[in-house]
């Protein structure tokens, strides 16, 4: 498939935003459960705001993908059948709850609403819980848009969902690490350890899907495409001289060298280098953590680019040669 750049930015930006919120929200629970030292100052407002901004940025990027962005509201209609429609609902839901969470924290509207056993649960924790549900739903919806297309064999796998989740979480925790270092607040140790763990997990899962896709063959051949069962079929004409939507939207034009380079780059920059940098980072090494974040984000952009390159659309068998 041809990489759709607005979609590449959409999925990576919201992934990082979702991961960031879950990083801080999970830390909040760990503090409540006395498994983590409470941090000195309240850092969650900032984190939730950044998470919100990333979700907004992703939404804006997605508009560039549409021919008619002014009709985008219509896309919520078919949630019963379409994962894209479900994403269109989950994204604003996540945005609204994360925003509400940030507002409650900022204005100190935090009342205690209930107690779970002996743990007091405040309003923000409750809203945060809804945000968490929306964010997890959003991860699933975003990935299922691709994973549900059974003709795109490289995407049609539970690994797609796992990859989207792990990569979003990894970049979110890396961002959380940077924020913790920059504000000198927040559980740096927890964030960096989780960032290392999630990046490693994402790397494993991505390598697994890379090797799965290596030997994947589409069941569609020119023979089944036109229904002629001769082993030798040569296309003489595509029915269009100057190309068509079919030749522009479903094929990438990158050479094998660029594709190989892209794959190496995303594996090294998206996973290996951030792993090393985060592993050796300290609570005061802002530069190292920021470098890890930057490299990882660039690497994940390249990963999403490669995700499109990797997918082979069956319609391409009808377009083997222009003449």
């Amino acid at each position: 498939m041809k990489p759709a750049f607005s979609v590449i930015f959409l999925t990576t930006l919201i992934g990082a935003g979702q991961g960031l919120f879950l990083a801080y929200y999970s830390a909040e629970w760990l503090v409540m459960l006395n498994m983590l030292q409470p941090a000195g100052s309240d850092y969650t407002t900032l984190a939730a705001s950044i998470s919100f901004l990333l979700l907004v940025a992703g939404l804006l990027a997605s508009f560039f993908h549409l021919g008619h962005p002014e009709r985008a509201w219509r896309a919520a209609a078919m949630w019963r059948t379409s994962w894209l429609s479900r994403e269109v609902i989950a994204l604003p839901a996540a945005m609204a709850t994360v925003f509400a969470y940030a507002v409650i924290r900022y204005f100190g509207l935090d009342l205690q609403v209930l107690t779970l056993g002996r743990i007091p649960v405040s309003l923000s924790t409750l809203v945060g819980f809804m945000a968490m549900l929306a964010i997890i739903a959003l991860f699933v919806c975003t990935a299922m848009i691709y994973a549900s297309l059974k003709f795109l064999r490289q995407w049609h796998s539970p690994l797609t969902v796992l990859n989207f989740f792990l990569m979003g979480m990894a970049s979110g925790f890396t961002l959380a690490t940077v924020l913790a270092v920059a504000t000198s607040a927040g559980p740096f140790g927890y964030f960096s350890a989780m960032a290392v763990f999630l990046t490693l997990a994402a790397l494993m899962s991505r390598l697994f899907s890379l090797s799965r896709n290596l030997n994947l063959r589409s069941p569609s051949t020119l023979q089944s495409a036109i229904g002629v069962h001769h082993p030798t079929i040569r296309q003489m004409a595509q029915g269009a001289m100057g190309g068509s939507f079919n030749t522009r939207a479903f094929m990438h034009t990158y050479g094998a060298g660029v594709v190989r380079l892209g794959r190496r780059f995303f594996l090294i920059s998206g996973f290996v280098l951030p792993l090393l940098l985060l592993f050796f980072s300290e609570a005061d090494s802002l530069l190292v953590c920021a470098a890890a974040l930057l490299l990882q984000f660039l690497g994940l952009l390249a990963e999403r680019w490669y995700f499109f390159i990797e997918a082979e659309h069956p319609q391409n068998v009808y377009y083997q040669m222009i003449s």
């Binding site: 021919g67 003489m236 269009a240 939207a249």
Partner: protein
């Protein structure tokens, strides 16, 4: 239930593109607005088409066959392009099985084109909405047209009658008869989309022509040997007409 469809006979299609041009003409002039044409007279003409004819060469020289292959939306009975559409702009009509796009609802997200394994959908670069073959739904029920013309325009324009239109759920329709008689098949059956459009395969055609077919030996009207016949007493047909 009705499922309107085309049956395309690859055995007779000569690749003249009459269906392509008549399709473009009919649909670009319709209510739905023009179908974009970029560079129509330049070196790299491109634009929106609902139907295209591709050409394939099968076999190895000198034993080759040229196959002209018209390609358009197949109006699948289980269309994967429909459930993925987030707006409901893509839908399959329950009454006749035609798969359509509502251009006023489509947001141009291209998701349906990703879901169609045949590449039958195209974004119109000008209107920024998804377009595809409508089976000339604006002709089929138009009572201002003579009944014989209430068919897809490609069917009417095909000079070799390679395109047959009809209800494939009605075993008595021309389309069903053609499918049954000539072994009609579906494209990429491996995906389970059950395309409604069928294709008729290439088949060997041979006609045995016998001398008697050209020259009837027992022609009752033969006049070559008139005059040498035995005289009859009754008036014959020959006598009362002016042969």
């Amino acid at each position: 239930m009705t499922q309107l469809a085309l049956v395309i006979d690859l055995n007779t299609c000569v690749g003249c593109h009459a269906c392509v041009t008549s399709c473009k003409e009919w649909n670009t002039s319709g209510d739905a607005g023009p179908m974009v044409d970029r560079n129509p007279y330049g070196a790299e003409p491109t634009g929106t088409f609902f139907n295209r004819v591709q050409t394939f060469e099968v076999g190895e020289f000198p034993d080759t066959q040229t196959i002209h292959f018209p390609k358009s939306c197949l109006h699948c009975e289980d269309p994967p392009c429909v459930p993925v559409c987030p707006t409901g702009a893509s839908y399959k009509r329950p009454e006749d099985g035609i798969v359509l796009v509502d251009y006023d609802k489509c947001i141009g997200c291209e998701y349906c084109s990703w879901a169609c394994p045949y590449g039958a959908r195209e974004i119109d670069e000008q209107q920024k909405v998804m377009k595809k073959c409508t089976l000339c739904v604006d002709r089929l029920y138009d009572e201002s047209l003579p009944e014989a013309e209430r068919k897809p325009v490609c069917v009417l324009s095909c000079p070799t009658s390679a395109r047959i239109y009809g209800d494939i759920h009605d075993p008595e329709s021309d389309a069903s008869r053609a499918i049954n008689a000539a072994g009609g098949y579906q494209l990429m059956p491996e995906w389970g989309t059950q395309p409604a459009n069928h294709y008729l395969p290439r088949r060997k055609v041979s006609i045995a022509v016998h001398e008697e077919d050209l020259q009837r030996v027992d022609n009752p009207l033969r006049k070559e040997d008139r005059g040498q016949r035995a005289p009859t007493t009754r008036t014959t047909l020959d006598d009362s007409t002016s042969w």
